[in-house]
Symmetry: C2
């Protein structure tokens, strides 16, 4: 990691401020002294939750306008202003699936699209679940599924599971299963 | 997967058209007949490459304006207009690392941020590498690293590896190692 890769922000032009994202175009000075522009989508950050019920992964099916179709994902949602990510994860899990949990563990925080966005997803493992009631946001329509490992493999092959955070979650699940088998 | 989750696009307002991304706000009709807006970042799609040299993962260190710092990622880049993803993967691998490859296999295609963007990354495995010369884009400054599995684990823990596609690549690598060990 060297300073010779550093870029310096010269100016920031705000383009759009929306409900969820905002867009700006930054002009940066490159390491060789020349300039370039970078289109940056600002996002408040998000949480996603790996949660199991009877060894099945809790997933939500919802329409994604960006994809033009429905997709199965792990429960997730954006951070509210000033919200603690762990509390947001518990909130999203309960809103989207109805399940509460006693224990949340941070597995990873990762950037989804570092080439053009600052969105970070904090991925949590939720344990010790108890069932409650779903209460999705008013513009959010979804269905909850409890998916076996074999079903998840098939959904990935079929493209019904097709987003990065759910792929990461799937591989962590696979890893856990292999570790459990090795420990037997 | 049911029709009752479907949303219907009523109108699309173009907001911005940039070098890499464009932004639009869609008004959609929700399943209950009410309307909502969806902020959508259109992206041409991208490729990323899992490639090994002497059992070490080829990675590039580069400054990410969206993150405000450098990050280690697998070689990647966006699709050029009309470009075949497999050819783009070979092109990006060579431009960014100098390596050519004889064999490319598609591992996964996934959406990075389906809540607000249509960006799809096609992740390839590159095999049978031969060394050549790097030729990064003129506004792209990067350094190539060959990273061992243990180093990659440490970089993830330290946050030097911190993006979704590289996490997915890491887990596929871990999976391959476990399979190889099991096969011995």
């Amino acid at each position: 990691m060297t300073d010779k890769l550093m870029e310096k922000t010269i100016s920031t032009e705000p383009i759009f401020k929306g409900k969820v994202i905002s867009l700006q175009v930054d002009t940066v000075e490159l390491p060789d002294g020349s300039t370039a522009t970078r289109e940056i989508v600002k996002h408040p950050g998000a949480v996603a939750v790996l949660a199991f019920h009877n060894e099945r992964l809790l997933m939500v099916d919802q329409f994604r306008q960006a994809m033009g179709r429905c997709e199965l994902e792990i429960p997730a949602g954006k951070l509210e202003k000033g919200e603690d990510p762990m509390e947001a994860a518990a909130r999203e899990l309960e809103e989207e699936t109805g399940y509460r949990c006693e224990r949340m563990t941070l597995l990873h925080s990762f950037y989804t699209a570092p080439g053009f966005s600052d969105e970070v997803i904090h991925l949590y493992l939720a344990e010790e679940l108890t069932s409650g009631e779903m209460s999705p946001d008013e513009d959010e329509f979804l269905e909850v599924y409890e998916v076996s490992f074999e079903e998840a493999q098939r959904y990935i092959a079929e493209g019904r599971i097709a987003d990065a955070k759910t792929m990461v979650a799937f591989y962590i699940w696979q890893q856990r299963k292999l570790s459990q088998q090795a420990g037997k």
